[in-house]
Symmetry: C2
Subunit: 231 residues, 2 copies
DNA sequence: ATAATAGTGTCTCTGAGACATTATGAC
DNA sequence: GTCATAATGTCTCAGAGACACTATTAT
């Protein structure tokens, strides 16, 4: 009878989790974070997946907070992180523990903010489909890649791959890496200019063995950043 | 102790609901469905809100099924319905019963499929903000309107306002209603043509007191429809 | 013929992309 | 000066929008 009750409760209360597809550029390649699951996990212990976990209503203000907490559990990062809802995935088929809902997020961190460890792994998106991920994580990752590429074609999303200041050439390189194709410098600059999200840092240049390059930053009132130290 | 346990469970299991913003064109105006909440509802009984309800894992295959079930509870429709995930809304602030997650959906039905009743109400989007909706339903509705308008500018989403066949002029009228502005006939037709989602119904015309108009339908392999009789 | 709407053609202007040119530093 | 990359200018072409014109039915 006690068991019966438990099963019923399990039915009445679907499993609620978040999963995060975290992107960064590693060595000039768009890459996704995989993290080793806890050895105490009921299922798939020590398997590499995209970071995910249960929602903790006691400590999370909302699902976005859950996502940040879950991420911080896997990698330490400081500063800000870009985070956006992707889609939710639900049903009885996707998690062996039962009927579940996972809210998936896309996230972006600058390469400089990322430290490697033995419990995480960065996989190039060009090779992600060589990995067989548990749950429906492969599907989630592929949707996230589509989303990132799509937004790159019509927005300034890639600015979130930079910590603070960057040159237009550096930004263009990131666009090219994400889209997998060369872009024309002149039209790229015109497009970015028209979007009016960048602020020229007067007198601040990136120096090198050539003509110094103007540095830019994202305007204050632009974008959806979340402080990583929220949670 | 038993009470303590219950509270804990409530914490551990957030409330999981779906909410649906259903659109149709009523008398030439883009309109949203409000439905009267059940008189037995714990909160806001008999208040008009967008249709929503608990997820029932026993009977729903996934959240999309929950959305369809909740909708069919409020209005009877036959045929197909367009349904798309909007966004999820979560946290402790949005539902007086506690920490909750609601997956919101956008839905579209043809005007012809909609029958009115005393427990539902269609509100023009131009007047929706005169209504104060419970929960965060006003926010959800406004995001849904933005989504519908946005997709209308770059896709053929509005074809889902039609049951089966329609003329290009009728389709253009719907675009104009959604966007709130007149469109040029010539460029409208070119754009629709280029998207390659419509199929000309050879020999099938809409007659009237003028030159007959060519009828079209949506190509078979296009779009995200869900059979209403799924659930 | 006329009214009414369907459907197509033409013109212009803008904006994206291809490419060339100039600018400015290090050496 | 040369080299390397930054930054901008020019040209062309395609596509969107404004508008005019033609087509086909009912009456």
């Amino acid at each position: 009878m006690a068991k019966r009750k438990m099963l019923q409760n399990q039915f009445k209360h679907p499993i609620l989790t978040v999963d995060v597809v975290l992107f960064t550029i590693i060595a000039g390649e768009l890459s996704v974070l995989l993290a080793k699951r806890n050895s105490q996990s009921e299922i798939f212990p020590e398997v590499f997946t995209i970071p995910g976990g249960y929602v903790h209503p006691e400590e999370d203000m909302d699902l976005k907070d859950s996502a940040i907490r879950v991420l911080k559990n896997k990698i330490n990062f400081t500063g800000e992180i870009y985070l956006e809802q992707l889609e939710s995935f639900s049903g009885s088929y996707r998690d062996p523990r039962g009927w579940s809902v996972s809210q998936a997020f896309c996230a972006i961190l600058p390469e400089t903010e990322v430290k490697s460890s033995d419990s995480i792994q960065w996989v190039k998106v060009s090779e992600i489909n060589d990995y067989i991920l548990p749950f429906d994580h492969s599907k989630i990752v592929n949707k996230a890649i589509i989303r990132i590429r799509s937004k790159t074609t019509y927005s300034t999303l890639p600015v979130y791959f930079f910590k603070d200041k960057f040159t237009l050439t550096e930004l263009q390189k990131v666009y090219e890496v994400i889209l997998g194709q060369k872009l024309d410098k002149s039209s790229f600059r015109k497009r970015i200019e028209d979007m009016e999200v960048l602020e020229l840092l007067t007198g601040d240049f990136k120096l090198g063995a050539q003509r110094p390059a103007q540095l830019y930053k994202v305007k204050k009132d632009v974008g959806v950043w979340f402080k990583s130290n929220l949670a």
